[in-house]
């Protein structure tokens, strides 16, 4: 259970909450939870819920508190209800999965995580957790194949509970939905913008004369540029790093994917994306695979996971054609 706390981050504040008092209670409860004062946290969040029983932030927080208290049954109920009321939010699915996994119910955990990813194809935590769940399920299958008792399987799970509900801070999905829907409208005139964004990686041609060995420097530069655009919440700049032929993670249409990414990049107040221990493998002179640890931190989520980008040379710059987590 220790590792469940691994990726803890501050609760996102419901900026748009209509009722400041409620916001305060939720904020306080979050702080209390962080301080390990579960009982007080629960009291405070119950107070918030008494005022607004359907509030997703408060319900999500209550689920977290109950999970920390080891009250899996009620926590499951809360997260399950959240997935029903807000099927577009990936976090309740993720947390449901974490609880199921802790009970050794890996099939349920898998279903829940796959749902989470279906909701948000780029949800890093769910990918990472799903990788662990797959490995666990694989191990169980092997045990069955080899007739080994796998009863202690639940002991070793190291999945990450999502601490924050990143979905729109609006207190109801009705409020959230129009906002998300509004985004593409704003985005539509923007496709022109990727052009200016191109300027950023332009310094790369400084070393154009260098032989193929130096391509890795260009590539790393592109990766850093991509991370910086992301950190600046510069959705256009960020998206300009993706090649036309980019394979969207869920196989969805480019438009739909861009829309989701824009929403995810612009939602948090602040983002910082670090690229660590990057390794470039050239596959020919115009194609490369870059692996690194992506250290993502926002006011709503922290994650540190392995990432792989497959990049291709497009004229003088390098663009992403494939992106994989875990």
């Amino acid at each position: 259970m220790l590792s469940l706390a691994a990726r803890m981050a501050g609760i996102v504040c419901a900026l748009a909450l209509a009722m400041p008092a409620l916001a305060d209670d939720v904020q306080d409860a979050a702080k209390l939870l962080k301080a390990g004062q579960h009982k007080q946290a629960l009291e405070r969040v119950n107070k918030a819920l008494a005022a607004k029983p359907r509030d997703p932030q408060a319900r999500f927080l209550k689920g977290l508190i109950l999970t920390e208290q080891g009250n899996s049954k009620e926590a499951i109920e809360i997260f399950t209800k959240l997935t029903q009321d807000y099927p577009e939010l990936p976090e309740p699915y993720n947390n449901l999965a974490v609880i199921y996994a802790s009970q050794g119910q890996y099939d349920k955990a898998r279903a829940s995580l796959e749902q989470s990813i279906r909701t948000h194809p780029s949800y890093a935590t769910a990918y990472e957790n799903l990788g662990d769940v797959y490995a666990k399920l694989a191990s169980q299958a092997y045990d069955k194949a080899l007739q080994i008792d796998s009863s202690n399987a639940a002991a070793k799970n190291k999945l990450s509970l999502t601490r924050e509900l990143v979905g729109r801070p609006g207190s109801t999905v009705v409020a959230a939905a129009p906002k998300e829907a509004a985004k593409p409208e704003a985005a539509k005139p923007e496709p022109a913008k990727p052009e200016p964004a191109v300027e950023k990686p332009k310094p790369a041609p400084e070393k154009p004369a260098a032989p193929a060995a130096d391509a890795s420097a260009e590539i790393l530069k592109a990766v850093n540029g991509w991370a910086q655009a992301w950190s600046k919440k510069d959705a256009d700049g960020y998206l300009s790093y993706y090649a036309k032929e980019f394979k969207t993670p869920g196989g969805e249409a480019r438009d739909a994917w861009e829309k989701t990414r824009r929403a995810r990049i612009t939602a948090p107040k602040s983002i910082s994306v670090g690229v660590e221990a990057a390794k470039v493998t050239m596959n020919g002179s115009d194609r490369a695979t870059v692996t690194f640890r992506q250290n993502y931190r926002s006011d709503v989520l922290k994650s540190n996971n392995r990432k792989t980008l497959v990049m291709v040379r497009a004229g003088e710059r390098w663009q992403i054609v494939e992106e994989k987590s875990g």
């Binding site: 797959y134 194949a145 080994i148």
Partner: protein, 386 residues
């Protein structure tokens, strides 16, 4: 992922569709999906297979690989990371090889097993075990010729074949027949849905000094679908549904069970040529016996002849005495079956009903002879009741 799983896939031949797919057919469909890089479909198929056959272990191994491949690249087929006894995992890998190989390497329609020279009218089926393929083939008697109708994955002895001693955990090689039908209720769960003992050691085995007994075809305990390719103490083990299917074809005392290193496939003309030569030799032996020219009759026996404690000299002395005293002899042969003996060179088991009538004595018996080719001639090296 694909590379590792495809390591067990030996070819790309597509498989015939079956009306009611066996777990093996379905496993092969899973591998087809993997070959086509449709991993989700492979997962769906393997999940359905496991739901229906929850004790089919090999399916879990494949499922494990499909799942693990989603988490990280596979190193091998059956990518088990725990430290497990080598033979356990190796047994499943071997089973995968055996099953897929058998499905992909089908004998051509016009090929016949060289061993089966002649079936007699009442032998409805013959069973042949190809130990290298871990496979049992069921042939129907189609007007005296074997016609392949089904084949099954089988488990043989832990130490392979060529049984010689009691406890050597090997499966015998030779020509046998089913001697009994032991139903499930008479057995412990270990033998699954039933058992069919065979007559190991046969006359030839005894002459060769081979020991041991209790070689059966049998099923498996409830908790498993089947066992690894080399896991029995010498018995031929089938999954319970397969044993039941084979059991439908078994006639106690009649059904031959031929166990070979590898089934030798031949064309019909060659088999017929060999059969005709043997049949001619047998007929000559019969008429020479009737002729009461004992020396011509004895010319059919090998110098290495031995039977029931008699060598050729003793046998000849006995025959000269008996035959010389007869005014007439009539010998009728019927229900003749002839099988080439695996492993041995030019060696044939001939079994028939012998209707012997003479001026002194008449009797009818089932007789078995072993014929061996010496130079250009076929000679009898053993003779006894069959």
């Amino acid at each position: 992922m694909r590379a590792a799983l495809l390591a067990v896939v030996l070819g790309l031949a597509s498989l015939a569709a079956f009306a009611a797919p066996t777990p093996e057919d379905r496993l092969s469909r899973v591998f087809e999906s993997i070959e086509a890089n449709r991993l989700d479909e492979a997962m769906t198929r393997v999940d359905a297979l496991i739901r229906e056959y929850p004790n089919f272990r090999l399916a879990y191994l494949v499922r494990g690989d499909l799942l693990l491949a989603r988490a990280r690249p596979l190193q091998t087929f059956g990518n088990v990371e725990k430290t497990v006894p080598f033979e356990k995992i190796e047994g499943l890998r071997d089973e995968a090889h055996a099953r897929l190989r058998a499905l992909r390497e089908r004998p051509a329609e016009d090929r016949l097993p060289r061993s089966v020279l002649q079936l007699h009218g009442e032998q409805k089926h013959v069973l042949m075990v190809d130990s290298r393929r871990s496979r049992l083939y069921v042939f129907a008697n189609a007007n005296g010729r074997p016609k392949l109708i089904a084949d099954y994955y089988v488990t043989l002895g832990k130490n392979g074949i060529d049984k010689a001693r009691q406890g050597d955990q090997k499966t015998p090689v030779g020509v046998y027949h089913v001697t009994a039908n032991l139903p499930r209720k008479k057995l412990t769960d270990f033998y699954g849905s039933g058992a069919f003992p065979i007559n190991y050691p046969n006359e030839w085995d005894r002459q060769q000094g081979r020991g041991g007994h209790g070689i059966w075809l049998h099923g498996v305990p409830r908790e498993v679908y089947n066992r690894a390719p080399r896991a029995s103490d010498g018995c031929i083990v089938l999954s319970n549904p397969d044993l039941e299917a084979v059991g439908q074809h078994v006639q106690v005392g009649l059904t031959p069970v031929i166990i070979a290193d590898e089934i030798e496939w031949s064309d019909a003309a060659d088999v017929e040529k060999e059969r005709a030569a043997l049949a001619a030799a047998l007929e000559q032996w019969r008429t020479d016996w009737q002729s009461r020219d004992t020396e011509r009759y004895l010319a059919h026996y090998s110098s290495r002849f031995a039977a029931s404690g008699q060598n050729l000299a003793a046998w000849s002395a006995h025959k000269r005495k008996v035959n010389g005293a007869k005014q007439w002899i009539k010998v009728g042969l019927s229900r003749v079956a002839m099988f080439r003996y695996p492993r041995e060179r030019d060696f044939v088991v001939v079994t028939f009903d012998q209707d012997y009538k003479s001026s002194g004595l008449s009797n009818v018996m089932r007789k078995r002879q072993y014929w061996v080719k010496e130079g250009a001639a076929w000679k009898i090296i053993y003779e006894g009741s069959g």
